[in-house]
Each structure stands twice: as C-alpha cells, then as structure tokens.
Symmetry: C4
Subunit: 242 residues, 4 copies
C-alpha cells in the first residue's frame, strides 16, 4: 500500500469513527475523534469544525502536536483540538483520541463516587478512571480546553490511563488505534449506566477485579470477535469499508 | 435585505426552531417557541395552535405584547400565548421564548431540590433557575397560563434569569435570539438528567461555579462552534437554510 | 350520518387508537383499546387477538357486556376482553377503555408508594389512582383477567375513578370517549416518570391539588388545544382522518 | 415435512430469533441465540461469529455438545459457544438458549439485591434467578466462557432454572423451544427495569408469588395470545414467516 493509500484509508477511519460514535449516541452535535497521522507521528488527523454525524473524508484536516493547522487550510478547526494534541504529545503509545459529552458518564465527573469497571466489555476503560477538573489549575474558565497548557494539564491527569473524565464537561478516551478508542468510548457509557443502577439498588456491588480488567481490557482489532462488533457498528452507521 | 425578506427569514426561524425542538425531544404535541418581530419590538411571531413538528411558515401568526392577534387572522392561537407576551413586555433584551413540558426537567419544578447548572454547555441556563408556582397567587386553576395577569406573574418570577420552571407544568426559556432560546431549551433537560443521576449516586456533587456559568453561558450564534451545532440540529430536523 | 357511517367511523377510531397507543409506547405486542358501540350501549368494539400496531379496521369485532362475541365471528378474541366488558357494565359514563403493560407505571402497582398526579396534563388520571390486586380475591392465578368475575372485581376496584393499576400486571384507563381514554393512557406513564424522578431526588414533592386536578382533568376533544395533540398523534402513527 | 424441510425451518427460526432479539434491544453487536438440532439432539445450531441483526440463514453452523464444529465448516464460530453446548448437555429439556449483555439486567449480576419476578409476563424467568460468578472457580479470567469447563460450571449454576445471571457479563436464558427462550429474554429486562424502579421508590415491594410464577410462567407457542406477540416481533424485525 502506498503512503497515499494509507493516508486515504486513515481519513476514512476518522470519518467512519465519527459516524459510528454519532450513531451509537457517544457524540451528538459536539465531541470529536482523531487519529495519529499514519506517516508522521508528529501530526494527527481531525475533522474541521463539523458535527460528527456530518463529517466526510473531505472534512479531515491535519494538525501538529501543538494544535496548529498543517498546510494551507483555512477552514475553522475545533477549538478543543488541544485535547488531542496534548495527549498525542504525552503518549507515544496512543494512536487515537475521542472526546465526548455523553450524558451517562458526566455524573461521575461531578460526583465523589468514582467510576469503576463492572462489565467485562468495559474493562477497556481500565481499572482506574481519573477525573480532571480544569478549575484546579485554571480557576474560572468557560470550561473548554482552548489552549495547549490546558490540554497538557488534562494529559497529565490522564497519565498512563485509558480514560479521563473532565469535571462538568465530558470525557476523553485514548486508544492504541482507532478501533480501541472508539470501542472504549462506546462501552464506557454502558458501564456507567450499569454501575449507576447497581449503586442505586442499595446493596453491595462487585467490581471487576484488577486481574480481570488486565485480562479483558486489551482490544484485538484483528480478532473475529472484534471484527464482528465493528461490522455491526459500520452497518448501523450506514457504512461499508470500500 | 428588505423588511419583507427579514420578516420571511424570521418566520423561517420560528418554523425551524419548532422542528428542531420537536426533533430533539424538548417539545412534543405541546409547547411552543416564539420570536420577537424583527421590524416591530411591540409584536411577536408564534405559530397558530399546531404541534411543533407540524408547524410550517404559513402557520406563523403575529401578536401584540398583550397577547392579541394582529390583523385579520381568525385561526385559533395557542391559549398560553400570554407566556410569550408577558416576557417580551417585561424583558426588552429577550428576542425569543420557548415553553416546554420536557419530562426530565419537571421533577425539579415539584421537588424542593433545586435545579442548578453542572454541565458546561448548560451554563446557558444561568446560575439561578427560579420556580414559579401558579397556585401561590391564583389558587386552584387548570394550571395553564391563560391570561396576561398569569403571564405577568410568571415573568416576575423569571426576573432577569434565563429559565424559569413552572410547578407541575414545564419551563420557559428566554434568549437574546432564537438560537439562544433554542439551545438553552435543548441543554436544560440534559443538565437535569446529569444532575439527577449525580444526586442519586449519593456522594457529594460539584456544581458549576458562578464564574464558570458567567464565562460559559453566553451563546455566540455567529461562532463556528455554535454554527456546527445548529447545522446538526437543522440536519436532524430534515431542514436546510434556504 | 347514517348508523352504518357512524359504526365505520367508530371502527376507524378503534384502529387509530390502537396505532396511536403503539406509536406512543403505551402498548407493545400486548394491551388493547375498546370503544362502546355507538348504536348499542350494551355492546363494545375491540380488535381480534392482534398486536395494537398491526390492528386494521377489518380486525374489529363486536362483544356483549359479558364478553361474548356478537354474530358469526370465529376469529380468536383477546382473552382479557372481560376487563372491557366489566367496566362498560359497571360504568355507563365510560365510552372507551385502554388496558396496558406500560413499564413506567407498573412499579406503582407493586410498591407501597402511591401514584399521584403531579403534572398538569396528567390531571386526567384523577386525584386518586387505586391499585387492584387479583390475588386478594382469587389467590394464585396466571394473573390474567380471564373471566367476568375477575373483570367485575377489577371494575369494583376502579369504582368511579379514571385509572386503576393492576398489581404486577399493568393498568386500565377508562374515558368518556376514545380521545379521553387514549390521552389519559399516554399521560399516565409520563406522570409516573416525573413522580419517580422527583421522589428519588430525596426532597419534598408538591403534588397537584384536588382543585387543580378537578379543573385540569377534563378532556375536551372538540377544543383546538386537544385537536392539536390528536393531529400530532395521528401524524406520528402515519394516519390521517379520512 | 421432510428432515431437510425441518432443518431449513429451524435455521430460519435461529435467524429470526437473532433479528427479533436485536430489534427488541436484547442483543446488540454481541450475544447469540441457538436452537437444538431438530433431527439430532446431540447437535445444536448457532450462527457463525456475526452480530445478531446481520445473521442470515446461510450463517448458521452446526455444533456438537462439546462445542466442536460439525462438518467441513471453517468459518470462525463464536468463542462462547460453550455456553450453549454445556446447557444442552446438562438439560435435555432445553431446546433453545439465548446469551445476552442487556444492560438493565447486568446490575443484578453485580448487586447483592436479587432479581425476582414482579411482572406477570416475566413469570417465564422463573421464581429463582441464580447468579453465576466465573471468578469463584476460575479466578481472574477475561470473563468469557471460552471452554467447556467454564460452560459446565455455568450450567451447574443454572441448575433447573430458566435464567442465570453472569456476574459483570450478562445472562443466559434457556427455553423448551425458541419462542420460549426468546420471549423469556425479552421480558427479563423489562422485569428488571420495573423491579429497579419499584426498589428505588423506597417503599415495600410485592413480588409475584411462587404460585403465580408457576401458573403464569409456561409459554404456549401455539396459543393465539402468544402468536400475537410473535407476529408483532417478526413484523418489527422486518420478517414474515415464509
């Protein structure tokens, strides 16, 4: 496959990830998903400022790891591209990042009750899910991650974890590749809903063990079991790999 | 743009606001949205008595600020047009009003637990959300705002705020322009659901700070970030600006 | 209008009530809605054993007030037609009956916490909502109302009220006419959800007052405000009055 | 009917059961449903590794009761086919098995609060619903039932019951025939939601009695009342029996 083919395929991945996350209720008019540039790890690919379910391959722009637009592209970018930039900079292992406002997750960003994995498919979120509060270091803001310093602070809070909640805002999920970030972002809200209901029932709750999370967590995009879920999501989003 | 063009565009705004709010689950068979007349601040535009998702440009009627029909238009108006009339009268800064029965918000109109902003996009609802109880001044009624005195009492309760809850009935959202009122009305239920879940989890809850609400609250309809959401809502409602 | 025309129109009403209640999530594969025969108050009209969203005008059968099929019609009827028969027998004021398993209402049929009106449009359910438990008089059964004695016991529990909950089963709503029964059945689940959330918030809850329920409760099918909602429901069910 | 016709009809049953369970929200990209081979009780029929809403008649594979593929079929099977194999082996009365991750049920697999029948149609789940925890015998795993020993342990936990919850994973429902397993799997989540809400209301809760469960539980696929629901599910899944 030529470098051009690989880039085109990656842009198709970014587009389809947007459409899948919109269809599965993880993104609405806001939120975004990026993929690290396949030929240049110092760049990443992200749509222009457009709602996920409307994103096309032509909307994908290229950015540096400090959030600047690459090339002669004057279309308005997402204000919060610094979320992606900072995480790619801090985490060479990360190949894809999702930022979402999914509403079943946000309660855990404002509650003292921690979000923990309780469902086997959500082991991908990791055993520990940190909460980042922009107010701690930046005081009163409009709560958006609108510069690299704020992005770096979020990346610090994320540390080596897969997911970080953003207080009163949403979450960020970081994956090795696009299938990892997307599926983690889809399973996180379901885990949140299961945990919420179990908590509300008022009895004791069995969390997944660290060992279970370690064993069930890793995503294997090439396995038939994963392919089955991905084919399903593409189909629901009205897409078919070209 | 001629005055006629401006009026036609505003009627299109009223129609599309109806369709968006229906599509996003804020209005069902009931509830309504109005816009102040672009050429005459003493009048406002509101559909005839029709369900929001069915409203067309031809359904838009014109009213005075005491709720009377302007011109020779004998189609049945909404009974509760006085909600809109009274708020436009009391608040020269308000250009658009939404009235809704959205079910995730109503619990906060009958509970002693206050609705407060906890999610950055819902900062538009304001730091303080008053509750108006028609019973306090009017005793037992059919709970509808069916005359100007009741509308004025509701407007008094709203005061300088963006949103007022109506006990056992619904809410009213007032915005500078139609995009402001519509997006506030869409984000309010999501904020309510997030707050409800966080409350039920049983731990402590971090509310948005007054400073955050002040900084994150204002809507900028001309910004690309806002345009992105508006394009998404129009698209979901099956509309495209002519 | 001839008697034949009136009967045909009433059958269309039964069909459209089925489709509306299916579309609005009040009925699923089960549950049913009947209308008293317009020319003979000792008979009522009800579909053959068919799921509500599939019911056509041709499916409507005629029954006596003891639940027997009228005429030479050997299609299988609903087993629980006795619910309808007994209520029409006990309540000459009732012109239409809905039986539903809607899931947001059933918790109040098994909980000691009573269902009460808290939302203005749900005042149609009445100030008092009794719970009928088939076990009290009939002991262990398959919980279905499968004979007239059980239907009569349910009708006794309903008394002069609009709605009765059936323990671990569902509810029955009785209206003056089909629009009354249908809208009551649609608003009841929304009232239940609002009350549930308000209860869970943990503060005090303001219920609608008896006077408010008396004033807001009655349905006026001929009013433009009611027609607006009915047009909306027909439209959503893909129907248009012929 | 020839043996070939019967086999073809059974494959159509497996396909349609998959589509129904996907449409009714019991299965998503994962989960599966099997039927015992109509001509050989030592074999069962199950789709290749494919998401339920995409399963076609051609996808159905044949397996032995130790989970091995029958014949020269090298398509990837579901990893968790051992769930089905072990239950068919342990329970000659079982003709169909569903495995699901439905999210309203999973809280009861991690909570000390037991899932019990409270709604008449869900009596099919049985009076007692055991919880199986893979960790008890196998320690830390990836939580999947990936061999026969784990399947047998699950089948032991199921015992003579209809449904077993799988801790932090999902549930399995076993029925006499496909209609039994499918309807049980559809009613179980609704029963869970009703019980959850009733529990949260904070009062006392009336469970279905053992006698009621015994009388209301059995499924009669040939009865008009059951046929009505099945026709409805097929219709919603876009299917019509050939």
């Amino acid at each position: 496959m030529t470098a051009t083919d690989t880039l085109e395929r990656t842009k198709w991945d970014v587009m389809s990830a947007n459409r899948i996350l919109a269809r599965e209720g993880v993104l609405d008019g806001y939120g975004h998903v990026s993929v690290r540039h396949p030929g240049n790890p110092e760049h990443f690919l992200l749509s222009r400022s457009r709602s996920p379910e409307l994103v096309s391959v032509e909307d994908i722009m290229e950015f540096t790891l400090d959030g600047n637009v690459v090339g002669n592209d004057d279309r308005p970018p997402y204000l919060e591209r610094f979320i992606h930039a900072a995480i790619y900079q801090a985490r060479p292992d990360v190949g894809s990042v999702v930022h979402s406002h999914q509403e079943d997750v946000i309660p855990y960003s404002i509650s003292s009750v921690p979000l923990r994995p309780v469902w086997h498919q959500a082991a991908a979120i990791g055993y520990h899910v940190p909460v980042w509060d922009i107010h701690e270091r930046f005081g009163d803001t409009n709560m958006l991650v609108s510069n690299l310093a704020q992005g770096n602070d979020l990346a610090d809070a994320l540390g080596r974890d897969k997911v970080a909640l953003m207080r009163g805002h949403g979450f960020v999920a970081a994956g090795n590749e696009v299938q990892d970030a997307v599926s983690t972002a889809v399973y996180l809200p379901k885990n949140a809903r299961i945990l919420t209901t179990a908590t509300l029932l008022g009895g004791s709750v069995k969390f997944s063990s660290p060992g279970e999370v370690a064993l069930a967590g890793p995503i294997h995009p090439e396995h038939p079991a994963f392919q089955r879920g991905w084919e399903y999501w593409l189909s629901r989003a009205g897409l078919k790999r070209p």
